[in-house]
Subunit: 139 residues, 3 copies
C-alpha cells in the first residue's frame, strides 16, 4: 500500500456547486492505485464539498435554493458578520455539508455510482481560489 | 497493510432507516484486519448512510419525522421533480446526511460505541436495491 | 504504511463547541506518520465532531445558536424523550453534523487550512466524558 497526495487549486466561477469530478478522477488515475480510497479535503471553512446528482442542472440549483432558505443571511442573532452577510451563513453551510469526502477506488477509478458527481460547494459571493487536498491510499 | 473491498446489495423494506451494522461487521470480520479503518460508501444520490442510536425504534422514527419536516415535498421552487414529489427531497436529504462513513477497526471489530448503529437511510418511497461498497484498510 | 490508533477521553465543559485540534495534532505527531490520513471518530450518538472557524468565538456561538433553532427541543411529535428535552435533539444534531472527520497529514502535521479548527460538538446539557478514537494511517 502507498499514499499519494496532491493539492488542487480551484476557483468557482460563482457561489453554488461546481463539479470537480474530473480533477479528482485525474488525481486518482495518476496515482496508479487500483484498489483503495480517495480522500478529498477542502482547507476552508466557507466552502465545502458534496456528492450529488451529476446530470440535471436543476438538481444543483434546487440544492442551492434549499440551502439558502435553510441558512438565511442577516439573521438578527448573528454576531460573526465582519465579512458581510454571506460570512456566517457560509460557515454554517460548510458545517451542514462536507469538509471531506471519502470515495472507494475500484479497478483503478473512482467507485462513484452512475449519477454521482463530486462538487465544490462555494458559499461566498466573491469566491477566492480554494485549496483541495486529494489523498489516495491503496495498492 | 492491506485493502479489502466488497459490495453489499441492500434493498430497504421501506423509506426510512434500515440497520446494516451486521452486514458491515461481517465484511470487517471476513477481511481479517485487526487495526484499521472501514469505509462504507453508498453509490446513490437518493439514499444515504448515518450512524445513530441503535436501541430505541422511536429514535429512528423521530429522526425520519424531523428530516421530513426539514425537507418538505412539493416546495413550489423545486424544478427537479421528474421522478415525483420524493425526487428532489431525496437528493437534499442525502446531502444533509452521509454518503460515506469511516469507522475505526479496533481488535478486529468495528469500533462503534455501545449505542451506535449503522443505517442505510432510504429517501425514496419505492426503494430500489442499493449498492454499498465496504472498503477495509489496515493490518 | 502503518496504522496507529489511540483513544482520547474528553469531557466538554458545557454544551456547544470545544476545540480539540491540539489533542488530535499531538496524536498525529506521536504517530510519526508524515504523509497520510487522520480519522477522528466519536463513539457516541449525542455528541459529534466538526471542522469550522478557529479564530472568532462568535462564529462558534452563532453555530450553536443556529443549530438550536434548527433542532428545537420539546417538539410535540418527539417520542424519544426519556432522557429529557435535550435527548432527541442531541441525536438529530449528531446526524446533521459529523460522527467522524478525515484529515490529510502533510509534512508530518494535520493538513488543516489556516482558519480550520477541530471541534467536539457536545449536545447534552450535562456532558459526560466522551471517547474519541484517532486513527492515523500513512508512511
Amino acid at each position: 500500500m502507498k499514499t499519494i497526495q496532491r493539492t488542487l487549486r480551484i476557483r468557482a466561477p460563482r457561489r453554488g456547486l461546481t463539479m470537480i469530478t474530473e480533477q479528482v478522477a485525474r488525481a486518482v488515475a495518476e496515482s496508479g492505485v487500483t484498489a483503495g480510497l480517495c480522500n478529498v479535503f477542502v482547507q476552508h471553512t466557507s466552502a465545502s464539498l458534496t456528492i450529488s446528482e451529476n446530470a440535471d442542472p436543476t438538481a444543483r440549483s434546487d440544492l442551492e435554493a434549499f440551502l439558502d432558505r435553510l441558512v438565511p443571511e442577516d439573521e438578527p442573532y448573528f454576531q460573526h458578520t465582519t465579512e458581510g452577510p454571506d460570512d456566517m451563513p457560509s460557515h454554517i453551510k460548510s458545517v451542514l455539508t462536507d469538509t471531506s469526502l471519502n470515495i472507494p477506488i475500484l479497478g483503478g477509478a473512482l467507485g462513484l455510482g452512475t449519477w454521482q458527481g463530486i462538487y465544490l460547494w462555494e458559499h461566498r459571493d466573491a469566491p477566492p481560489a480554494r485549496s483541495i487536498v486529494v489523498t489516495v491510499q491503496g495498492d
